[in-house]
């Protein structure tokens, strides 16, 4: 009897470690590519069947900053992302308020319409956007590229903000006015603090979306609006994998940082699985 119990116990603990093996394999699969990029970007003379690069060097980073104007490209990327975030937030605040707090006949239908740009492949409407922008001379301007990004960023922001506004408790607002606060005071001291986290998380997510956006940038960029993802793609085409790796590392760090920073505050998984009943 005790033998059987010990056997079962062993099986139980083994099962638990099997679960960890599974999780470990999963984490390896996710993080390993980045590790390879890091090694590649610091490695020198890493040829043949070697596990690790024989020599470490900063050469590729230096080279990457020499052949490409990294500050310029970073500036482009940041300017475009900032413009896109600003426009997306300005659009999403009123529209999100309407979706979250007002009665709209056929709300579901309107919402799925707003979210349609996330369903159709970006390259399909990117084509149309590019043709329109050529006509309006918006190609190769920061504003134009940001406007193209808006097609993807705005639905995100509207989705997140409408959920935030919907979560505002009517009773809290009533309590505030019962206690004698003017509408303006209610807005400033009750509504704003309540919705600020939602707005911030929507801004962060639209920022990373725009920062990482590749397809729509590729359709609308020019020589003055090369962004980091596009530059990485060009570098890949040039075939210097070490240099591309060095650029990728510079590109990827801010995104990962944002993910690790906001994970406590906003439950980022909510934003990915965002829309139900597609």
């Amino acid at each position: 009897m005790t033998l059987l119990r010990r056997y079962l116990q062993a099986l139980w603990s083994a099962r638990k470690s099997l679960v960890y093996v599974f999780l470990l394999c999963f984490a390896l699969l996710i993080y390993m590519p980045f590790l390879m990029i890091v090694l590649k970007s610091f490695g020198k003379g890493w040829f043949g069947r070697l596990w690790l690069p024989p020599e470490l060097t900063m050469h590729w980073y230096k080279f990457a900053t020499e052949v490409t104007n990294i500050p310029e490209i970073t500036k482009n990327t940041l300017v475009i992302a900032t413009l896109a975030v600003t426009m997306a937030t300005l659009i999403a605040i009123p529209t999100g308020w309407a979706f979250g707090r007002r009665r709209i006949p056929g709300k579901e239908l309107w919402m799925s319409m707003i979210l349609l740009p996330r369903m159709i492949p970006p390259i399909a409407y990117g084509l149309g956007v590019a043709q329109i922008f050529y006509r309006l001379h918006l190609i190769d301007t920061h504003f134009g590229v940001a406007l193209a990004h808006l097609a993807i960023c705005a639905p995100y922001a509207i989705l997140v903000l409408s959920a935030t506004f919907e979560g505002l408790d009517e009773r809290v607002l009533e309590a505030s006015s019962v206690c004698g606060a003017s509408p303006w005071r209610t807005f400033l001291h009750v509504i704003v603090p309540l919705i600020l986290p939602g707005i911030l998380s929507s801004m962060l997510f639209t920022f990373t979306t725009s920062y990482n956006e590749f397809t729509l940038t590729l359709m609308t960029y020019g020589k003055d609006t090369v962004t980091l993802p596009v530059r990485t793609y060009i570098a890949l085409g040039e075939g210097y994998w070490e240099v591309t790796s060095a650029m990728s590392i510079m590109l990827v760090i801010p995104s990962l940082l944002v993910l690790f920073l906001i994970q406590r505050q906003v439950a980022p998984e909510k934003l990915l699985g965002g829309f139900k009943g597609v």
Binding site: L90, A92, F99, R118, M119, P121, L147, F214, E269
Partner: protein, 282 residues
């Protein structure tokens, strides 16, 4: 009076929605229409109507290959991400030590650019990458590096890597909103763990799995950066579209025709998918 105030409130609602609707029509609907009209024009002209681009593309034997490839890649990636997500979320649900870390890990492929993921995966699975080194070192029958990059299985793996978070996240959130009383009831009624899983948990989270898999499918169908740099000779529709505008002179009409076909196929497939699989309970 009441009628008037209702009208006014409706107007205010409309005004509030206006920015979003303007964005939708200006940046999505109008571009789609422009592409549609462009696809019906002869190449490089602003007048005249023709179906030539659709006919020419669809009559190529290669076109069928392209469409089939697009579907094969996106459907296989969807199936693979379901196969990965369900065990993963069942494990993560138990709140083991360090589950926060693995939850975060799940989101990583979605916050980095697809390009970089593809680059890392190409390095990892290349003939000199760690996967092949491990296989050569520890698996007795393998003496040649296994070719993964620029093959269809490799592409499916890359797609799954990049797009499974949609399925996993949606499944996890469904799983966590599940009422534990149902499982307890099943267990009390004498079902073993496997039966509980098979007959209670899985059917209950099915809507979540399906909704997530739709998201994965949509993303995989429109995937662009991965096949562009890791596809080699395999070009799904998105890359095919991009190739058309990379010719000099750019073939905008041909590209637009392909884009319309792509959008049409996606909407058609999703409609069928939702009809067939949507359960009354959702």
């Amino acid at each position: 009076m009441k009628h008037g105030s209702r009208l006014r409130s409706g107007l205010v609602t409309l005004l509030l929605m206006l920015p979003g609707l303007a964005g939708f029509f200006g940046l999505f609907f109008y571009p789609m229409m422009v592409a549609l009209v462009r696809s019906l024009r002869p190449e490089g002209q602003r007048v005249g109507w023709t179906l030539e681009h659709y006919v020419r593309f669809l009559s190529q034997p290669r076109a069928q290959g392209v469409i089939v490839l697009t579907f094969v890649l996106s459907i296989s990636a969807t199936v693979c991400s379901i196969l990965l997500s369900v065990p993963l979320t069942l494990v993560l649900r138990q709140k083991l030590r360090g589950h926060r870390f693995f939850r975060l890990t799940m989101l990583v492929p979605r916050v980095v650019p697809g390009l970089i993921g593809a680059l890392g995966l190409l390095l990892l699975f290349g003939s000199r990458g760690w996967v092949n080194l491990t296989l050569l070192q520890f698996v007795p029958f393998i003496h040649e590096p296994v070719r993964m990059n620029y093959t269809i299985p490799g592409l499916i793996l890359f797609y799954t890597w990049l797009y499974f978070p949609f399925t996993a996240v949606t499944t996890l959130s469904t799983l966590e909103s599940l009422d534990p009383a149902l499982e307890e009831a099943a267990a009390v009624s004498g079902a073993n763990r496997w039966q509980v899983l098979r007959h209670v948990v899985i059917p209950l989270i099915m809507p979540g799995i399906l909704a997530g898999s739709v998201l994965t499918f949509m993303a995989a169908f429109g995937a662009f950066s991965i096949p562009l740099i890791a596809g080699g000779n395999y070009r799904p529709l998105s890359v095919e579209i991009y190739r058309q505008i990379n010719f000099t002179p750019a073939r905008w009409s041909a590209a637009s025709a392909r884009a319309m076909i792509m959008a049409g196929l996606q909407v058609g497939y999703l409609t069928i998918y939702m009809r067939v699989l949507r359960r009354p309970s959702t």
